[in-house]
């Protein structure tokens, strides 16, 4: 059950829905397909002790990277921080926790949370350091590792268009984790390029049905 969709300014959306210690999922992959304006507002808010659940953490001082530079992070759940070496430094110094998962396990874990699957088995990582302390199990001929669903308090997603109800469609490889995260969090703020009238999106092509979305914010959608 969600309230009627709200269209808010970024600052307002962030302040209403995120608090210190929130677990925040953020869509995107390598500085593309992430909600830039929402991330900027999160940085500006100064809200701290956040756990950020995302593919990567942008670059040093860019995008989600600013949250680290700005000391707003308690922990990370994700898979690829090679684009932002500050993550390794902060982790090695014990400043933040990092829960590193294979990218497919990360994606599936988020999907699982949205789809009511608490745990699943996967081949990825069996026998490696990333499976240390995790249960493994032989199913058929091979060994698999048990992985758990990954949920969050708030998802910040980037979509291409929303209709007035809140249905979302995405843009090319800017889709990435966004639709999965929209299902895995209690609250969802979607930054969109454009809001179109209800009925203007093809019902066959809607990727995220509106019932997952709480708040829309509109950006210019310009390339930077």
């Amino acid at each position: 059950m969600k309230k009627a969709i709200q269209i808010l300014a970024c600052e307002q959306a962030i302040k209403t829905m995120i608090a210190p210690h929130s677990r925040v999922m953020v869509g995107g992959f390598g500085l593309r397909g992430y909600p830039e304006a929402l991330v900027e507002a999160l940085v500006d808010s100064g809200i701290g002790e956040l756990t950020i659940i995302s593919n990567d953490l942008g670059s040093p001082g860019v995008g989600l990277g600013k949250l680290l530079t700005n000391n707003q992070l308690k922990g990370l759940v994700g898979n690829y921080y090679n684009w932002n070496p500050e993550v390794a430094y902060a982790y090695n110094e014990g400043k933040i926790t990092v829960d590193l998962l294979p990218q497919g396990t990360f994606a599936e874990g988020i999907r699982a949370a949205g789809a009511g699957i608490p745990a699943f088995y996967t081949l990825a990582g069996v026998g490696t350091e990333l499976a240390k302390g995790k249960e493994t199990r032989k199913i058929g001929e091979r060994d698999y590792v048990l992985e758990y669903s990954i949920s969050g308090d708030v998802a910040l997603v980037k979509a291409h268009k929303a209709d007035e109800l809140g249905n979302l469609v995405y843009y090319k490889t800017a889709r990435n984790f966004n639709p999965l995260m929209a299902m895995a969090c209690k609250h969802v703020i979607a930054q969109v390029d454009e809001i179109v009238p209800t009925g203007a999106l093809d019902p066959e092509c809607i990727v995220t049905p509106h019932i997952f979305v709480d708040v829309l914010v509109v950006n210019g959608g310009k390339a930077r």
Binding site: M1, K2, K3, A4, I5, R111, A113, G114, A115, G116, I117, D163, E164, L165, N167, M183, T198, G199, L201, P203, E204, I206, P209, H210, I211, F212
Partner: protein, 227 residues
């Protein structure tokens, strides 16, 4: 005590359940099972209620007019339905992802039996002529609220609201509300509580037609009925 005929009973149950959602100012996702539950759609007037069909649709509209409609657009009861503005289509894993993931606010389903422990038996009569479970087990465990829509007694006058279900269970401790043509019950603090009863019957009538023990709500009232 007046006997309510089957058609009236079904309509009354469907209308009473629909009324549950009248006041929702929030977007409310509703899944309807086969039978009486499907009829609920006809009486839901609140535009904030979005009907989900587990065969892959959110935003189910009214049944298509007889002989009209799109033959491939059906609800889970195989009825040809219409679509609403802003509806969406998806595959069955997405559909049950919604259901299991807690994104469906209420499901309304029929049952053979329901009992004091909020157990529901609605999927099979062993060695019978039907073999099927459908989405019932996913729905009772996944939906946030489970409303059982049943006639109070079977055709032999035997209560469907039992001390303990005798048929195989669909879901344990999952029922939140029972609506019959004679009464409305909720489960509160692990007790079955009578909240409303029909104008045609007395409290004693309800007691005599109900096998299950129940307590009477201090706020018990007469069911509002239009049929």
């Amino acid at each position: 005590m007046i006997q309510i005929n089957e058609e009236t009973a079904k309509e009354r149950i469907a209308r009473r359940i629909a009324a549950e959602f009248d006041s929702s100012e929030n977007r409310f996702v509703l899944n309807l099972g086969v039978g009486i539950p499907t009829m609920v759609a006809d009486y839901v007037k609140n535009p904030n209620v979005y009907i989900q069909a587990e065969n892959g649709m959110l935003g189910v509209g009214p049944l298509a007019a007889e002989g009209q409609g799109d033959w491939q657009l059906i609800n889970a009861g195989r009825q040809i339905v219409t679509q609403t503005q802003g509806c969406s289509f998806f595959d069955s894993s997405m559909s049950f992802g919604m259901i299991r993931g807690g994104h469906v606010d209420a499901t309304v389903l029929g049952a053979f039996e329901v009992d004091e422990q909020a157990n529901i038996a609605n999927w099979i009569i062993p060695n019978g002529k039907q073999l099927g479970v459908g989405g019932a087990m996913d729905l009772v465990s996944g939906a946030n609220r489970v409303i059982v829509a049943i006639q109070h007694q079977d055709r032999k006058g035997v209560s469907k609201i039992k001390h303990t279900c005798s048929l195989p269970i669909t879901g344990f401790h999952e029922a939140d509300m029972i609506v019959t043509e004679y009464a409305v019950f909720c489960y509160e603090n692990e007790q079955l509580v009578l909240k409303e009863y029909a104008p045609e019957v007395s409290l004693d009538d309800v007691r005599s037609m109900t096998e299950a023990n129940f307590v009477v709500s201090p706020l018990v009232k007469v069911m509002e009925v239009s049929v």
